[in-house]
């Protein structure tokens, strides 16, 4: 067997998905199923005075209609929807039930639910439900929430949910600012984003009325977490619940929640003894699925005469939306550690205030806190470069951790220990690939010629925290779960291999990458490996997929399980070959005795022997079936340098992304083709934030652009090809030396693009543009001279 790790093996997942054989939740039908139609509040903040369901109940195909108060009286749940990340002990967390019985707190809050025989009939009947609202004042923006004149939750008496601080050395920060030669201050808006996975969310809950079991199909990233949470919120015994995530059409964080619709389906199916289902429509998603970002950031840097950073100080206001969802309050906290970026920052301070608004709740969206952090520090570094009078590449070089040299296990000012890094050569590689000096010359040539189309070049060196996570580190952040992952490797009697993965894919290609790891370890053909996942009955232990953790935690668990299999197989080989353990070598899938090459046993033969158990060492359990639950000692910190090249038409304000160069370092790679794909997709989501996307709300708290007609998910025409390159700095956090690549692109790209736009507009005195940099905003900035 030649090595398969590190090769661009074609994906095992593809044939099914390419032929329509892949089954997403909405593709699965069960007899007798009832469709839920949601009656959602059309008011952002209102008391529910009454609900008339009589017309709806008469509609064809309708089975039943329940109002919020009727559901509340049915004792369907024993606890509100969970928030597992209460970041401070005194954090406010108003109870959030699947249906609002008395008061709706955002447009889209479910106030009643219809059950009907078909999706059309459910939707029709839901429209016939008449709700009488008493409208309350609406907190329609983060600014409204901070102003505090109106309350998002009247009974709380305040909009502020928490104050969280990471201030390891406040005096040092003060002193650094007092003695700084240069200071810069950036104020940035992280607009709300709609995650927009192409498959809308959906759920199908299938009861077994006599056995008491419930099988739940969900378009989710987190079947294992759902199982626990369904039990904890409904009181249905956990061992009776089976959650299956079939093919899942993208997640990006939007599918890691425990949602009201799912809890309704689960509890109603359980109560009625009939299958209950729901599939989100796209225009509904802006109200029914959490959104991302929603922060106002203030970042200040103090530096000496050469531009060397002395301190970084950050304050955030963060928009929680109407309720705390699963990890809503933790998203800005997760980002807090990255506001020092890749730089040597002697003193650091961070504070964050979380606020409620009457808008769709926020929660994790690709990068979750870390793109925001990277954006702020990387924008501020460009401001510092301008202040000091050096180029953006030079200011970065002067400040890289370890002077841009290779390091391992380095403690940073934000209290984390970075596993490994080597930033200098990574920047060099990106500048070279981009042809940086040529680009600067072209920019100057255009300016000299008076070209109305300005060229802008933007840099960003990002770092991210991934591989969530060491369980103890999560405990320190008051996160309600651990960060381990489980992997099982099982040799079948015929010598084929089944792998059970705790982490759950939704496009990342786990089946392929895990097969490569196992094939490489065991010296077998990757096509002899099948990877089982995403079903709590098949893979009972897992903590699922988010935070770029699959490979660096789950993939590592599988590699370690292979090692355990090999260790046991070796003992069997020694026993059967009558050789000393120390005299055995394992190569190419076969154990042989040093010096007598004819004495050999293939791992497949040992598997059969372990199955028959006829001739095993005394006391050894039959079979080769090993599980490892890996809890990493540290996070992993991938990094990279991105270069965006834009053209800004100063007549129209239109920005075109001409070229994008990304040199990433995610440690060792299992499948570079998959890594590259992750980087591409991530970059485009960051570019989309920089140039196109924003969930816009009016003063009444209505989302103005919920559908794909006005919410501008980029199409192929808006984008160039992406040039990718890699450096390799293995992680010290796991034995494979791998990091993570799922969020990296998004974490680097928004800052690179906006740095490029600002770079293009430097001659016009523009030093900042709010995202998304629409033609209107750019044009105004040019004509007003400055936005910053």
């Amino acid at each position: 067997m030649t090595a398969v790790m590190g090769t661009p093996m074609k994906r095992k997942e593809d044939p099914k998905l390419l032929t329509g054989e892949g089954k997403f939740v909405d593709d699965i039908q069960v007899p007798g199923q009832l469709w839920m139609g949601m009656v959602r509040s059309t008011m952002a903040h209102a008391n529910i005075k009454g609900i008339d369901t009589s017309a709806a109940a008469q509609m064809p195909g309708v089975h039943s209609v329940y109002t919020g108060s009727e559901l509340a009286d049915m004792d369907l749940w024993i606890a509100p929807l969970p928030c597992v990340w209460p970041v401070t002990p005194d954090m406010l967390n108003p109870p959030h039930y699947p249906v609002a019985a008395e008061t709706a707190h955002h447009v889209g809050d479910i106030v009643a639910v219809v059950l009907a025989d078909s999706r059309y009939e459910a939707a029709d009947a839901a429209e016939q439900v008449v709700v009488d609202y008493e409208v309350l004042p609406v907190v329609a923006s983060l600014a409204d929430a901070v102003a505090g004149e109106k309350l998002a939750h009247q009974d709380l008496g305040t909009n502020q949910a928490y104050h969280w601080a990471l201030e390891p050395a406040p005096e040092a920060v003060e002193a650094a600012f007092a003695s700084a030669v240069h200071t810069v201050k950036g104020e940035f808006v992280q607009q709300r984003l709609i995650p927009a996975a192409m498959e809308p969310r959906g759920v199908l809950a299938v009861p077994s009325p006599h056995g008491g079991e419930l099988t739940i199909y969900s378009s989710t990233q987190v079947p294992h977490i759902l199982k626990v949470m369904f039990a904890a919120t409904t009181g249905i015994p956990e061992q009776k619940i089976r959650v299956i995530a079939p093919a899942v059409g993208g997640g990006f964080g939007a599918k890691l929640n425990v949602n009201p619709d799912e809890l309704l389906a689960v509890t109603l199916a359980n109560r009625l003894g009939r299958a209950v289902r729901w599939t989100e429509t796209r225009s509904e998603a802006a109200f029914s699925t959490h959104q991302g970002r929603g922060q106002h950031q203030t970042i200040e840097i103090a530096a000496d005469a050469e531009g060397k950073i002395q301190a970084v100080r950050v304050h955030l206001n963060a928009d929680m939306g109407a309720y705390m969802m699963l990890i809503t309050p933790g998203v800005p906290v997760l980002g807090s550690f990255l506001y020092t970026g890749v730089y040597n920052v002697p003193a650091f301070g961070f504070t964050c205030d979380g606020y409620f608004t009457n808008l769709t709740p926020t929660d994790a969206y690709r990068g979750a806190g870390r793109p925001e952090a990277s954006y702020a520090i990387e924008r501020a570094m460009d401001m510092l470069a301008a202040e000091v009078g050096v180029g953006p590449e030079e200011i970065r070089r002067r400040n890289y951790l370890a002077g841009g040299e290779a390091f391992e296990d380095l403690e940073t000012a934000s209290t984390l220990v970075f596993d490994s890094g080597h930033y200098g050569p990574n920047l060099d590689a990106a500048l070279e690939m981009a042809g940086y000096s040529d680009l600067l010359a072209q920019q100057q040539a255009r300016r000299d010629a008076g070209d109305k189309k300005e060229l802008g070049i933007g840099l960003c060196t990002y770092v991210e925290i991934c591989g969530l996570a060491p369980s103890r580190a999560l405990a320190g952040l008051n996160y309600g779960a651990g960060g381990w992952e489980a992997g099982t490797v099982r040799l079948l009697p015929t010598g084929k291999v089944e792998v059970v993965s705790g982490s759950t894919p939704h496009g990342q290609g786990h089946e392929t990458s895990w097969s490569q790891i196992v094939a490489d370890k065991l010296g077998i053909d990757p096509n002899d490996v099948t990877v089982l996942h995403s079903d709590t009955a098949i893979s009972p232990l897992g903590l699922d997929t988010y935070g770029s953790r699959s490979l660096s935690v789950g993939g590592v668990a599988i590699a370690m399980a292979c090692d355990k299999v090999i260790d046991k197989a070796k003992q069997i080989a020694a026993h059967q070959l009558e050789a000393n353990l120390d005299d055995l070598t394992f190569e190419g899938g076969s154990f042989s005795v040093k010096g007598s090459p004819d004495k050999a046993l293939a791992i497949q033969e040992i598997a059969f022997g372990a199955f028959t158990a006829h001739n095993l060492p005394d006391g050894m359990e039959p079979n080769l079936n090993e599980q490892v639950i890996f809890d990493p000692p540290n996070f992993a910190f991938p990094f990279g340098t991105h270069v965006a090249v834009v053209e800004v038409d100063t007549d129209t304000g239109g920005t075109t992304l001409l070229d994008y160069i990304a040199v990433d370092d995610c440690g060792n790679q299992v499948n570079p083709m998959i890594v590259e794909g992750q980087i591409h997709g991530g970059i485009v989501q960051g570019v989309a934030q920089a140039l196109y996307e924003v969930a816009e709300y009016d003063a009444d708290g209505n989302c103005k652009n919920p559908s794909f007609l006005d919410y501008l998910v980029p199409s192929p025409t808006e984008l160039p090809n992406i040039k990718t390159g890699f450096t390799t700095t293995p992680s010290t956090s796991n034995p494979l030396g791998v990091k993570g690549a799922g969020e990296a692109g998004t974490i680097g790209s928004a800052a690179a693009v906006i740095n490029a736009v600002c770079n293009a507009l430097k001659p016009y005195g523009v030093n900042d543009i709010e995202m998304p940099a629409t033609p209107m905003r750019v044009w105004q900035a040019i004509n007003e001279g400055s936005q910053g």
Binding site: T19, F24, Y120, G250, H506, G681, P716
Partner: protein, 149 residues
């Protein structure tokens, strides 16, 4: 109507969208629904050889039509060259946009067998993908067209 070479007939409610008829009645769930504004292209199929977003049509309007869905693309267990190119070039991740992309791309090449990169991008403007950033989708289509990517 003829679907993937088989004659299929059914009584349909006048308002049933073609995509729901294909999925819910005929069980051809490869064709996906990604939006409700005819914006995403996940539902793209071929009608009489032309690509059509099947959410923009009522099932009754397809009476007598010759329809090909993603399930009809591979023959005798062999992927269609466009499907093979997507696999070769990693043109899919979650695979949700993929059936629509493959259908749209196939009809694009029928109209323009040797497109430039820009022509591919313009030709697929009506198909959204959230995973791939399009780079590898464009590469797949150019590969299927026989050009170097």
């Amino acid at each position: 109507m003829t679907v993937n070479g088989e004659v299929r007939s059914a009584d349909v409610e006048p308002r049933t969208l073609l995509v729901h008829h294909l999925r819910d009645v005929l069980g051809l769930t490869g064709t996906n629904v990604g939006c409700d504004t005819s914006s995403c292209g996940a539902c793209t199929i071929h009608i009489d050889g032309e690509s059509v977003k099947s959410c923009t049509m009522l099932a009754v309007q397809a009476r007598g039509a010759n329809i090909t869905t993603i399930e009809g693309m591979a023959t005798n267990g062999e992927l269609h060259p466009m499907q093979a190119a997507f696999m070769e070039c990693h043109g899919l991740q979650c695979g949700y946009c993929t059936p629509g992309m493959v259908m749209a791309a196939t009809s694009l090449l029928k109209e323009n067998p040797n497109p430039s990169e820009t022509e591919v991008r313009i030709g697929l403007e009506g198909n959204l993908c959230r995973c791939t950033g399009y780079h590898n989708i464009v590469k797949s289509v150019l590969t299927a067209a026989g050009g170097a990517a």
